[in-house]
């Protein structure tokens, strides 16, 4: 009882403070999630506005006599003539490890019915990205577990790699695979008590998606036991546009907490095309001047300031990192549309997924020719670089020669060998969804292909060979795989051992 009394007394003391000046306004116009408020003469840009009924807004337009406010919450409860107050605060979201394993909305409120979130720190949604002094080059790899990516388009911690493609080409699956792979690696390192391993926490921001797809994604993550290392930020298509617009910024704030505390985080924005559409709607309703395709003039800045927040900071500043994987959906493979070109130019490379490849059965449908990683190769494992260094070039040659081969003309043996090798590499990179491959297995398998051990295996049996070889290595040659993982480079002795292992396997394989 005494506690309660103290609490009430403290509350009253807080309220008793002298009458302070408040800045108020009156709602003049409301609709489509946007209100125009007359008054609020001292409102700041991006300031939270208290609209009553427990609803907050965000001041986005500061005009001479009125303020344009986007409403975060149910705007149908508000009416013309209602009073609005400036709060003097910027929009903040809870951050910290308490959010891991949870599904939250844009404001960081739980939506998974698992009770309140344990977090006593909040970060502002809009934050200036780390400057050049704080940054350091990208050096550590993000093991996505997808062979084609880890071998040819490596991603480093702190990089921004765009995933671009038409609808249903496996963009989200690629990201979910990466999350599952990280969870597997984090768990393995925890189990082994590896102090040097830096766990990578994942944040999945769903913007303007169907609730059913988000629910499915969460189910997949739960099944793969990846949720303990993941935060899901859900801003579905039924959410207000204001929430959809703010969702990636809120996610970035959550990721920045990990970065600021010397940890590594990976954030997936799924997808930024819908985000641009949400921002266009807000801008049009706020009567901002529109430009190309009716997007406002600052749509480039919208994405550049968001993606610039992904960084690797130097050791002096905590050595944390935030890696961003934005997703862009193209229409009919058109990468030269407005938003795709914007985001391509902002990011440090792109992974391009093609519908044709997808229906040819090449899944993940990564177009190796169009995909690049501008900084990731510095982060690639040395062992991987040793075995996969030639791959991109080999595949480029293969594609060129494959066009000739279609005419059925006679080919010289060297060209034929190149084509055969290319076909086998394409087979090796086919991978079922939600089954990431550990990097040491990737090194061993690609090493076997490049060593010519698969040249006498028929193309339609390459996949079977790969599966069996992986089985053989993970059950009988764990020591060898462990050595590759530890040493991170293929010494001569290790190469010989790997060759011997593959030879031994080939004798038993039929």
């Amino acid at each position: 009882m005494a506690d309660l009394l103290h609490e009430i007394e403290a509350q009253i003391a807080g309220v008793k403070a002298t009458t302070a000046k408040q800045n108020v306004g009156v709602i003049r116009e409301i609709g489509d999630g946007v209100a125009r408020i007359e008054g609020l003469a001292d409102a700041m840009l991006n300031e939270m506005i208290d609209l009553g009924h427990g609803i907050t807004g965000l001041a986005l337009n500061l005009d001479e006599t009125e303020v344009g406010v986007i409403i975060l919450g149910d705007y149908t409860q508000l009416h013309e003539g209602d009073e609005a107050r400036a709060t003097g605060k910027l929009l903040q979201v809870p951050v910290g490890k308490g959010l891991l394993g949870r599904v939250v909305n844009t404001l960081g409120e739980p939506v998974d019915g698992k009770g309140p979130i344990k977090s006593d720190v909040a970060y502002p949604v809009e934050k200036v990205a780390p400057g050049i002094i704080r940054r350091s080059p990208v050096r550590q790899p993000v093991q996505t577990g997808i062979m084609a990516i880890d071998a040819m388009i490596p991603i480093g911690r702190g990089q921004r790699e765009l995933i671009i493609g038409d609808r249903s080409t496996g963009k989200t699956t690629l990201c979910i695979d990466t999350i599952i792979s990280q969870a597997g690696l984090n768990k393995a390192a925890e189990a082994a008590g590896d102090k040097d391993y830096r766990p990578l926490y994942c944040i999945y921001v769903a913007i303007g998606q169907k609730q059913s797809s988000i629910a499915q994604t969460i189910t997949v993550l739960e099944k793969a036991d990846a949720m303990p290392y993941t935060i899901v930020l859900d801003s579905s298509a039924s959410d207000s546009v204001a929430n959809q617009y703010l969702a990636p910024f809120a996610g970035a704030a959550m990721g920045e907490w990990f970065m600021d505390h010397g940890m590594d985080a990976l954030i997936i924005y799924d997808d930024l095309s819908k985000h641009a559409v949400a921002y266009r709607q807000i801008s049009l309703v706020l009567k901002r001047p529109s430009g190309r395709e009716a997007y406002p003039g600052d749509v480039f800045y919208l994405h550049s300031r968001l993606l610039e927040r992904a960084a690797r900071v130097g050791e002096k500043y905590g050595n944390g990192s935030l890696t961003a994987l934005p997703i862009i959906e193209t229409k009919a493979g058109d990468v030269s549309a407005y938003i795709p070109t914007n985001v391509i130019s902002i990011t440090d490379g792109q992974i391009y997924l093609e519908t044709d490849l997808f229906y040819q059965g090449i899944r993940p449908a990564i177009s190796v020719g169009l995909s690049v990683s501008r900084v990731g190769s510095a982060a690639q494992l040395k062992a991987m670089k040793q075995v996969a260094g030639q791959l991109k070039g080999d595949l480029a040659q293969f594609r060129e020669l494959a066009a000739f081969a279609q005419f059925g003309s006679e080919l010289d043996p060297k060209t034929q060998a190149l084509i055969d090798r290319g076909k086998r590499i394409m087979e090796i990179f086919k991978q079922p969804q939600y089954s990431p491959v550990p990097v040491e297995v990737q090194v061993a398998v690609i090493g076997a292909v490049q060593g010519g051990y698969l040249d006498d295996v028929p193309v339609d049996r390459v996949k079977d060979f790969q599966v069996r070889l992986t089985e053989f290595l993970t059950t009988r040659k764990t020591e060898l795989l462990g050595k590759i993982a530890r040493e991170k480079t293929l010494s001569e002795a290790l190469t010989a051992e790997l060759k011997a292992a593959v030879n031994q396997f080939k004798q038993t394989w039929k």
């Binding site: 509350q11 009458t19 108020v24 007359e38 609020l40 003469a41």
Partner: protein, 130 residues
């Protein structure tokens, strides 16, 4: 047909003409309204309503609405007025109203600034605190 933006711009120009030493001159404002009505121009009504809005906002900036739970004695009113003049300059006028809904204390509103020292506001803040 004039666009809304043109009308807004014109209304602002007229409003600026009505300012004498930074304060709205009532005579000039009346003159403007009369001239627009007499001119019978197209879009005159829209211009008038825009002008009226600017005058209304200016009035709100220079008028303090003082609400109190009980009627205030004249000397107290004078001291409030003097206090307001000290903060907002000499051009400010005050209108006093009696509002028992405040329960106690008073509430002063000048433009978008509000000084709320009423019991009702404190109770509302307390409710929010819980």
């Amino acid at each position: 047909m004039k666009t809304t933006r043109q009308i807004k711009r014109e209304a602002k120009r007229l409003f600026r003409w009505c300012l004498v030493n930074g304060l709205l001159d009532a005579g000039r404002a009346r003159q403007v309204v009369q001239r627009i009505i007499d001119g019978k121009r197209r879009g005159g009504l829209a211009l008038l309503s825009q002008f009226q809005r600017l005058v209304k906002l200016d009035c709100a900036r220079h008028t303090a609405e003082v609400e109190s739970a009980m009627p205030l004695p004249p000397d107290f009113r004078a001291s409030i007025q003097a206090g307001l003049a000290r903060v907002y300059g000499p051009g400010i006028s005050a209108s006093f109203a009696h509002n028992p809904g405040l329960i106690g204390g008073m509430r002063i509103k000048v433009g978008s600034d509000v000084y709320d020292g009423s019991v009702r506001a404190r109770l509302a803040a307390l409710e929010k605190g819980f």
